[in-house]
Amino acid sequence: DVKVTQSSRYLVKRTGEKVFLECVQDMDHENMFWYRQDPGLGLRLIYFSYDVKMKEKGDIPEGYSVSREKKERFSLILESASTNQTSMYLCASTGTGLTMNTEAFFGQGTRLTVV
């Protein structure tokens, strides 16, 4: 069974803290994504990575960075957490087959609260 695992379901952090959200997939997928989900705004892409050490900005990268040192792991970093980064964060991965493994597989989500 395919799996995308996010390290925490719930996190509470203080303003100004450096926050790491970890995501691991066991499907040997090339592509990995970080989204944030807010009511009425849907899923917005923060960053994605199509290979180890490669990354591209999504639609809302400000205040975030990412790291992909190994194929299976994609980390999202909040350099200095702010209250407007309180949100649900979702990690996903996909393969690059023509017809197989084209859909995204999601982790269970991390609900981050910044106080």
Binding site: G40, Y50, L90, A92, G97, T102, G107
Partner: protein, 113 residues
């Protein structure tokens, strides 16, 4: 850049009636189209996809979707709604196999008993 629109924030349907959740998209090339469902406090679950071939695709839980290239639409349908179908539904588009996946804002489906 690709984009997805879900014009309805909420759809209410009586149990046993057919349901439709609308989605339109914009891409410059051939689209890969997806539907996902999200239950409370859960991640997104994949329902179905259109890559190529037959315009009517069937997926999980009795859902299907019809790809209409001329109208750039990919509406989600089910012939007979269940109360358990109540959830948040997302349409998504991908332009090519190496590209990012962009999601719509979601449509909340309420099935009324």
């Amino acid at each position: 850049a690709q984009s997805v629109a879900q014009p309805e924030d909420q759809v209410n349907v009586a149990e046993g009636n057919p349901l439709t959740v609308k989605c339109t998209y914009s891409v410059s090339g051939n689209p890969y189209l997806f539907w996902y469902v999200q239950y409370p406090n859960r991640g997104l679950q994949f329902l179905l996809k259109y890559i190529t071939g037959d315009n009517l695709v069937k997926g999980s839980y009795g859902f299907e979707a019809e790809f209409n290239k001329s109208q750039t639409s990919f509406h989600l349908k089910k012939p007979s709604a269940l109360v358990s179908d109540s959830a948040l539904y997302f349409c998504a588009v991908r332009e090519g196999r190496d590209d990012k996946i962009i999601f719509g804002k979601g449509t909340r489906l309420h099935i009324l008993p």
